[in-house]
């Protein structure tokens, strides 16, 4: 494994300050990996998160907002916000309001929350690559 890592070509590392890099990684799925020279993974991650988000919106899922007295709504909002710019763009267009009576409402929520949490994991992965904890 160490040999394989040593044989890999050196990648371009980002010169951006860490908070900026992580902020960009959060705002645009896959951008953190792209800025660190991981182009294939950037493309795959962007496609997966975008697909999950679009399917969630199409299925009448809800981009959550906090509701007083409902602690779980705060967690769901955190996960929804994980989608970065997609969250704000969709909300500004009036999408992701959630249609509770729609047959696939819960599935829509699942896709939206999954996409958001995957993007949050990408931010952590970007950090690990940037600090050298992950060398591939």
């Amino acid at each position: 494994m160490a040999d394989k890592a040593a044989n890999r070509p050196a990648r371009r590392e980002s010169r951006l300050p860490m908070p900026v890099l992580l902020g960009l990684a959060w705002l645009v799925p896959g951008l953190g990996h792209l800025l660190l020279g991981r182009r294939l993974r950037a493309a795959v991650f962007a496609a997966v998160v975008l697909a999950g988000f679009v399917v969630g919106v199409v299925l009448d899922g809800e981009l959550m907002t906090p509701h007083a007295g409902d602690p779980l709504s705060y967690l769901a909002t955190f996960a929804s916000l994980g989608n970065g710019l997609l969250y704000f763009i969709a909300r500004s267009m009036g999408l992701g309001q959630g249609v509770v009576t729609a047959p696939a409402y819960e599935f829509g929520n699942t896709f939206l929350l999954t996409a958001g949490m995957m993007n949050l994991l990408l931010v952590l992965d970007t950090h690990d690559i940037a600090v050298g904890k992950k060398d591939w």
Partner: protein, 58 residues
């Protein structure tokens, strides 16, 4: 609209692709890991659904 099983399979597919690329560096490892995660999610969900079948729902 897709039925629930198709949506479940689609969700499992996206998650399996995501984690394969997140955690495995080599192509062959990724494929193995992809099938493992994808199978676990789909078969696990079907198994849990089957186990829940006898429970009453209102």
């Amino acid at each position: 609209m897709l039925d629930h099983l198709s949506l479940l399979v689609l969700d499992a597919l996206l998650i399996a692709v995501f984690f394969s690329f997140l955690w495995k560096p080599e192509r062959s490892e990724r494929w193995r890991y992809f099938w493992k995660v994808f199978g676990a999610l789909v078969l696990g969900a079907v198994a849990v659904g089957w186990l829940m079948y006898p429970f009453p729902h209102s």
